[in-house]
Point group: C2
Chain length 377, copies 2
Amino acid sequence: MSIEVGTIVPAKVGMHVSEIETPALIVDLDAFERNLEKMRDIARTHGVGLRAHAKAHKSADVAHRQLEIGGAHGFCCQKVSEAIALVDAGIKDILISNQIVSPSKIARLIDLSKRANLRVCVDDSENIIALSKAAVEGGIELGCLVEIDVGAGRCGVTPGRDAAELAHQIATAPNLRFDGLQAYHGPAQHCVDANERQSIFESVVVKVERTLTALKDQALECPIISGAGTGTFQKEAASGLFTELQAGTYCFMDASYMSVRNQEGGQEVPFENALFLLCSVMSAVRAGTVVCDGGHKSHAIDSGLPVLVDVEGAEYVGCNDEHGVINDPNNLLKLNDKVRLIPGHCDPTCNLHDTLIGVRNGLVETVWPVTARGKLW
Amino acid sequence: MSIEVGTIVPAKVGMHVSEIETPALIVDLDAFERNLEKMRDIARTHGVGLRAHAKAHKSADVAHRQLEIGGAHGFCCQKVSEAIALVDAGIKDILISNQIVSPSKIARLIDLSKRANLRVCVDDSENIIALSKAAVEGGIELGCLVEIDVGAGRCGVTPGRDAAELAHQIATAPNLRFDGLQAYHGPAQHCVDANERQSIFESVVVKVERTLTALKDQALECPIISGAGTGTFQKEAASGLFTELQAGTYCFMDASYMSVRNQEGGQEVPFENALFLLCSVMSAVRAGTVVCDGGHKSHAIDSGLPVLVDVEGAEYVGCNDEHGVINDPNNLLKLNDKVRLIPGHCDPTCNLHDTLIGVRNGLVETVWPVTARGKLW
């Protein structure tokens, strides 16, 4: 094993997995590629577009693979700074699936739209005025989707007439273009009960249809209806209503979506776990318990603890910032042993790391930077 | 307001607070400096050292102020890579308050100890053999503290004879030096009940004393007894037993320690909130609720949600990755308004940001990089 003592390199191409610095995020490239192909094929079968959500991985390399082998035609970002990082890395079609309201963010949005095909979501009349003014000043045309609140109660205008009024305002605002609707239901994605997930989805459809009727009353075309996540995307794909899917986590999966998948037998969420946090055992004083070097500074716990794989009977039962406690009733783990964890939630976990380490057949094949890590603005 | 559209600069010196890009971490420099002075004075009064924990802020600039005005004589780090980042930025005395067991990490530890006064914690006999071998090969002497499990049940050897045996092994191992004990109780710090906190502390003292007796039996000196955090440090300081305090969060505070402080009237935790997440309202569709741009990718929620200040009756009630939901029963908040949140937990929150923005009298005075952000190894 060659050890770098100067700068810290978490992994080098050709290295064995056991030599990777821990804690580190590793991507099982075979599983990752199969996930991309599955999503591509399902989207194609239903004739819907795939606008993969880059907030899940924040990686330009992952995005380029989603374009090259995954059938994606574009991406979503949540922040302008996230989009800037991806455009700088060659990604050219991005919907900011979020409201951009502060003057400095609007200025950057307009600037960025000069070198990428950019769209943004809106739910506010004042914001439309500000966007239009900035688009005029910047000499560009900006495509806008009206975000409707399909039941998640977060952002988004009331579906129906309120939404159509905003659409009309956009359509008549200088240098703005009404491109369609943003209709995403976050909590539905993670709903483990299949019946409840179906019933939420049906209520989403009602709200989208009500808005389409109101748009028709205003004689407005609605070319794009964008939405869906890894939990419900097959419903949107088959709906005949949605034109593009915004799923993100499908490429990597996580413990939260694994619960959804396990509950329904993998028909609706047919993806494999491709993202793991590789950790090392760093303390093994007491029988039945070891401590590993992966605490919640290396994996997000908003959706629960990570799931330990590979070690019979062992379970990751708690953590602090830099430590993870593993129950190991069979005393299989020794000091310095490596363990793999499936992170509870993919998106904020990727945001904690500078690199994603792609592995195949036990060897490091590639090291991808997390291009938009920490891009909060 | 001057707007940068090319590269993204969260803040510039001289900028008004309202112009800072959000979400961003801001430091109230007056409160921060008062916190440093308070800790310095308490440590001095009791004649104990202050080895401030850098895992809380990961910032070399904060560390330098802890040295210059805060009375610190050294620092703790949790990871070798964290220590490397701080040594590169001029910090010269660091205890790795953690076990370093993998060959590559040990190699870097030895390398780093050639250019800094470095110590490390151990709780395992095998690890002592590996450290000694590497220290001999590197031609350096390495100071070791035996970590004892004072009740937190994480890392650390059993207090008493087991600990003294490890100390003896260190003292007789080539190129290692037994420097003392690591006796830190994490959960005690955040225990809101003052009586329970006191009772845990008393049990810690018993375990340290038992170990000192066992060390005396081995005729081993114990120059350093290191421990304490922001919740209990006055007890360790006054104990006549501990020689140095490892508190970290005291410089910034957070919502978790604010609960401890509020419960006991600020006698034991006499610090002010100096760290805030500045956010902007980005959606305000429904009466009584707004959505801000600070979700849990910008503040850690392992210790609960952040606490919103400044706005009468308003409360931060939930979040997703990039969104925070604020109940605003008095409808005081409008689109693009700024709000300040006290993060639930300081340490992992700082780790989510590239910069800490120091403000005084409403203006940006300094922008500090989070030097060791993401240094997980």
